[in-house]
Structure formats: C-alpha cells, structure tokens
C-alpha cells in the first residue's frame, strides 16, 4: 500500500485498486488499477469487449465487483449502496451510450432530469425542484419547455443532453461518460463534446470518458488508459500517449484509427493485427496480446508482463524499458493479409 497523505487523498477523485469483475467464467475485468485526480478527464479506450463499460458499471455500483477496491474522494465505497454513498456525500453519475434506450419513455423529460433529486437525502420543495430542473436544462443548452416533452419527441443529440442534465443535477464529483457520442450523428457529436468540455471546465468534476473514438479522446482527455481483454496495457498523459505510445497494442490502435485527412491518412500505415480476437472466457497465457502482437517472442507466451512505470505513465510489455523506450510496431513491416 502506498502512504497517501490526507492532502493527496483529497486530490484524488477516483481510485481503483486491482478491480476484478467476473461474470461466471467470463473474466471481463481482471485487475485494473487507476486513479483520476479532481477536475481531470481520463479516457478509457480499448477494443469492443475489453471491459470498459464493466469498469464504469462497477464504479457507479450497478455491479458488485468480484474483488478489488473502489475509492471515491478517498472513501472506500466498494460495498456501499448508492444511498449510503450519498450519505457520505460521494456522488457519482453515469451517462450511457444510447440516449434512447437509457431514458424511460413514459416519463416526461422534466421528471427524468429531476429524478436524482427525489432520491437525494433532504427533501426539497416542488418549486425548488422545478427551478433546479430548468437551471440544469439551461446549462446543457435546452429550453425549459423541453421539460414537458417525452424523450421520443427529441432528437438524438437533445436526448443525450437530457441524460447529461440528469447526470449533473446531483452535483457529482465524478462523471462516468460511457460512449456518450457513439450513437449520435456526426453533426451533433461536436455539440455534445463541446458541452462536456464546457461543463467540465465550469463545474470541475472528474470524468472517466469511455470511448473507442480516438479523435474524441485526443480532444477531451487529460490522461489516457488503454484496456485489452480485461486489463490495462498502458496509461499516461494524452500528450505522451498520442506522441509516444509505448505498448504495441496502443501503437496498433493509433495506427488503425483513420484520420479525416486523405493525404495524411494514405501516408500512414495500418498495422494489420489479424482479427481473431481472443475471448475473455479463456484469455491467452502470458501477455494477453501475444496472439495478435507482431512483436511477440517466447517470453510473451509464458510470462505475464507487469504494468510498470515508464516515466510518463505505465506500460505492460516485455519490450518496453523503464524509460518508455521500446520498438514501434508502426515502423516494422507487418505482412499484409492479402500478400
């Protein structure tokens, strides 16, 4: 255990220690440690099924972790109910990917947004509640009259704003945003990203931003954590991860995400990994990435690489040194699948 001082604890909004979540034999999350400082945005990226949403659901207590510790603002909330968490003044909210599916279609928008207030300790008057709802709708750029509509009468972008208003009305110190823009049209994604950036700057909540959209990550995040098959393979500042990704998987991910600039995109070289994704039911031995890693060697199949410090952040790869130096799969010439 590290000797955290009280001051340091105050500064940490979220701390995960060796979080494990197994669904029967599915090892969805297998030992994730992560911390987010107050007012910072950490992006959690990784392939579909790598366990990102499961991490988010464990934090907001929608899931009971199999093992590990979740601390919010220094308080261990791992086994507290959401009600008990509120009594500790530890408020966490979540915004889901699909704005249509996560809002109750029979509730008016005003009631959807105000619901967390009803659950909060200390009753407030109806008048005050309505005022808070209007204030919150205004903050996410919706007119007050939207409160009397049903979710299906709104556009996708407006619905996502409603779920953000609902998440923020209880003044959380931590917001989990699980793919908040993935289901939205290109022309409304920008407005939701801008909104999150504005609110985060004005209110200063910490945010775990779960996404697979790397350009959104670069736009919004301070820090980046990369997941592969239930485990973190790399962490670090946004600047470092985008400029000098250390782990081969992070490098491949960055090389594979196309950029909306044709000459630049053509000049890049995707690293072809092969698409036989291993399963969380039976993760590969040693380094879980070895079945797809272009650089894998004997040691990778036998020995699990630890997530070790590399200066700015951490990486879990046998080929990455303590200073972060190591090979870059984007430089090596991987055989194309058609050759």
């Amino acid at each position: 255990m590290k000797p955290d001082t009280d001051v340091a604890l105050e500064e940490v909004a979220l701390e995960l220690e060796d979080l494990v979540m197994h669904f029967g034999s599915v090892r969805a999350v297998d030992g994730v440690s992560l911390s987010i400082r107050k007012g910072q945005v950490t992006a959690l990226v990784g392939e579909s099924g790598s366990g990102k949403s499961t991490v988010g659901r464990c934090i907001v207590r929608l899931l009971e972790p199999t093992a590990g510790v979740v601390r919010i603002g220094g308080v261990d909330v791992t086994h507290l109910s959401r009600r008990q968490m509120r009594r500790h003044g530890k408020e966490v909210s979540i915004v889901f990917q699909d704005p249509a599916g996560s809002l109750d279609p029979r509730m008016l928008v005003g009631d959807v947004v105000g619901e967390p207030l009803r659950l909060q300790a200390g009753r407030i008057s109806r008048r005050d509640r309505e005022e808070r709802i209007n204030e919150e709708l205004g903050r996410v750029g919706l007119r007050a009259e939207v409160a009397r509509r049903y979710p299906h009468e709104l556009s996708g972008g407006q619905r996502q704003r409603v779920s953000i208003a609902r998440a923020l009305i209880s003044s959380p110190s931590l917001l989990i945003a699980d793919e908040p823009t993935s289901a939205l049209d290109v022309s409304v994604q920008a407005s939701v990203l801008n909104l999150l950036a504005d609110l985060q700057r004005d209110i200063g909540f910490a945010c775990l931003f779960i996404t697979h959209d790397l350009s959104a990550v670069e736009y919004l995040a301070d820090d980046v954590a990369v997941m592969y098959l239930g485990q973190l393979v790399e962490k670090g500042s946004r600047e470092r991860v985008f400029a000098r990704p250390a782990h081969p998987y992070t490098q491949a991910l960055l090389a594979a995400a196309p950029v909306a600039d044709p000459p630049r995109q053509r000049a890049r070289k995707a690293v072809l990994l092969g698409d036989d994704l291993p399963s969380a039911l039976d993760p590969p031995s040693g380094c879980r990435f070895h079945t797809r890693c272009p650089l894998a060697f004997d040691r990778c199949t036998a020995e699990v690489p630890q997530l070790l410090g590399i200066g700015d952040g951490d990486a879990a790869c046998h080929l990455v040194g303590p200073d972060g130096a190591g090979p870059d799969v984007r430089q090596t010439n991987s055989a194309g699948s058609l050759q």
């Binding site: 049209d185 022309s187 990203l193 697979h212 736009y219 594979a256 995707a270 797809r292 194309g336």
Partner: protein, 353 residues
C-alpha cells in the same frame, strides 16, 4: 484496369462508367403520408473505382444503394435510371434483377451475422452461391470457397471452411460475407457500413481486403459510411448526401481540401482531428436539425441550418453542377449550392458579401 495510384488521382473521366445513376428518386408510402427518401440522385462509378457515400443517419444512403438491385420493400416507389454496364435496372423485370444480383452487383452489410445462415458451414454457404450461379460441382465449389477465404485473408482457410458462423469472430464473419459477395466476380460491390460494428484494428484489415479486391480484380466499390476517416482512407471520389439529395461530389483530396457545400464544410470542421484539444480549440457545431423528409421543399434542404442562406436558397433548389464561379474548383467537383464556400480563405466566415 487502372492502378491504385492512378485512381487516387481522380476518376478516369474518359472511361465509360460501369454504373451510371441518373435522377434516381425513391418515395415511401407510409401511414402518415408520402416520405421522399431519395430525391433526384446522380452518381457514377468508373471501373476499378471506390466511391464513398457519406451523410447523416437517414439521409438516404442505404435506400439509394438498395434501390439499384431492387432490394426495397413494396411500399417503395423508385423512379429515374440506373444503368449497370448498359443494362437498365430501375423497373427491370425480376429475372433481369436476379441475374444482376448473382453476377454483376453484390452487397455486403453492417451486420454479417444476420446475413449468414447459422446452421450451415461457411464453406457450404459460399459453395451454394457458386453451385447456383456458376454451376460448379459440390467438390469444385468447396475448393473455390477455400480460395475465396484465402483471398479475403482468413488464416488457415482449410480449417475455417468447415466452421459455422458462430465459431468466427465478427471481423472474420465480415470477411466471409465479402468472400460470398465476390464469389461470382461482380463488377460492382456495394458495401453498406461494412466496418461500423467492428473495432478499428479489425476495420483496418477489412478495408485492406476491399482495397485489395479493387487492385487485383478491378472490382468497383460503392462504399457507404458516415465516418469521414474511413472515407479519407478508401475512397477515390466522394458523394455527400443531405436529406435525400446529393449536395456535393468530388475527388477525395479535392473534397477535403476545398469543400464547397456548407454542409460538407460544416462536417469537416465539426470532426475532431489529430492535435486538437478542448483546452485550446473549440469544435465548430452545425446548428439545427436535419429536416423531416415528408416532402422535399422547393428550396435548398440545408437552408435552415446554413449561415450563407438567403432568399434564393429558400425559394428554389440548387442543382448539382460544376458551373459555379469559383476559380479554385475543378471541373470534376460538383456542388448543389447557390453560394458555394469558394476559396479556402473565404470559407466559414458566415455569409458572403
């Protein structure tokens, strides 16, 4: 056949297109009236060319593509012309369409699982296509299936040919779909969001397979996506659709460098690109909502959201043309706008004087 580098420099304008779509319109009769889903769409596809279609959800990309081979439900009314190697498809008898679907135009869709038969091995499914359309024997069809699996980059094809769809990953299932689609050597492959459900590292492999088909077999590809990054990666030319209409059409580099329609320009500045961060840079938003497609107004469909709109834009619909007074724009760059963005410096500054 053109080499990939040549095609990237733009469509060979002198070669007859394999697919020539003109004035294509589709309306649906629904309980709440008539919906105009596709309105007067023109597009062409040259041999060995990859044309991307981009636009918001519901703008008519899939309906355009499906109308070509008569895949729309009965409630659809299709008019206009679509010639595939000279053969008119719109209004053609079912026998003509069926022959075209088997041999000259093939489709792959976003969700491979729903298009594959779960109780047949992939070898049997690919083989059946070959037995029906090319009259191959069962043994020959199987051997050819193995070749096709190799072509689309499936490792150990001799084993995989006996797998059932559920034994394959999502990316491999999409490769199987591609193998089935190209089994009879179609001239035109329509790929409707083929990588949207896949991870980026898997997507990169699929895009590579499609590019490989074009390079090796000369297949022309109509590639539908809403991802501008994917367009930048694979397309030679781009068709931008908005609310059922084509608003802009240009070679890919030209479109990204000098977008002329205000919707295209808006999409490009709204997309986060490498190096941009919220601390220093705000994403520009496109205000307003996509219009309802009940009836197409006699106006530019983007006028309500456009900063350059004036009375002319609200009063009549601009035609897709290259006959605009913008010096920077090439003749193969078409735009449907009364007041195109013009040269790059004049862009995004609200209405032009």
């Amino acid at each position: 056949m053109t080499s990939p580098t040549q095609t990237h420099l733009g469509a060979p304008q002198d070669v007859a297109p394999v697919l020539d779509v003109r004035g294509l319109s589709v309306t649906f009769t629904t309980e709440s009236g008539t919906v105009s889903a596709v309105d007067n769409v023109d597009l062409t596809l040259a041999p060995g060319e990859i044309v991307g279609i981009v636009g918001e959800s519901g703008c008519g990309k899939s309906v355009t593509a499906m109308s070509l081979a008569g895949l729309l439900p009965r409630s659809a009314r299709v008019s206009g012309s679509a010639r595939l190697q000279g053969t008119e498809l719109i209004g053609a008898p079912e026998s003509v369409l069926r022959a075209a679907r088997g041999q000259s135009i093939a489709y792959i869709f976003q969700e491979p699982m729903s298009s594959l038969n779960p109780v047949l091995t992939v070898g049997r499914q690919i083989g059946e296509v070959l037995q029906v359309h090319q009259g191959l024997s069962r043994k020959k069809a199987r051997a050819r299936a193995v070749e096709l699996l190799t072509l689309v980059g499936i490792p150990s094809p001799l084993q995989r040919v006996d797998n059932y769809p559920h034994q394959l990953s999502g990316g491999m299932r999409q490769r199987v779909m591609i193998a089935m689609a190209v089994a009879c050597g179609p001239t035109v492959l329509v790929a409707d969001e083929p990588t949207t459900a896949l991870d980026v590292t898997v997507q990169a492999g699929i895009l590579d397979v499609l590019r490989g088909l074009r390079d090796r077999l000369g297949t022309s590809i109509l590639f539908i996506t809403h991802d501008l990054g994917v367009i930048a990666d694979v397309a030679d030319r781009v068709v931008v659709m908005y609310a059922g209409r084509v608003v802009e059409r240009a070679p890919v580099d030209e479109l990204f460098a000098h977008p002329q329609h205000h919707y295209t320009a808006g999409l490009l500045v709204a997309t986060p690109t490498p190096g941009r961060h919220a601390g220093t840079d705000r994403l520009q938003e496109i205000p307003g909502l996509v219009p309802v497609l009940s009836t197409q107004p006699d106006a530019c469909t983007f006028a309500e959201r456009c900063s350059a709109a004036d009375a002319q834009c609200l009063g009549s619909a601009p035609a897709l043309s290259s006959d605009h007074d913008v010096v920077a724009v090439r003749p193969d760059h078409l735009v449907a706008c009364w007041h195109p963005c013009g040269n790059p410096s004049a862009r995004h500054q609200g209405s032009r004087a």
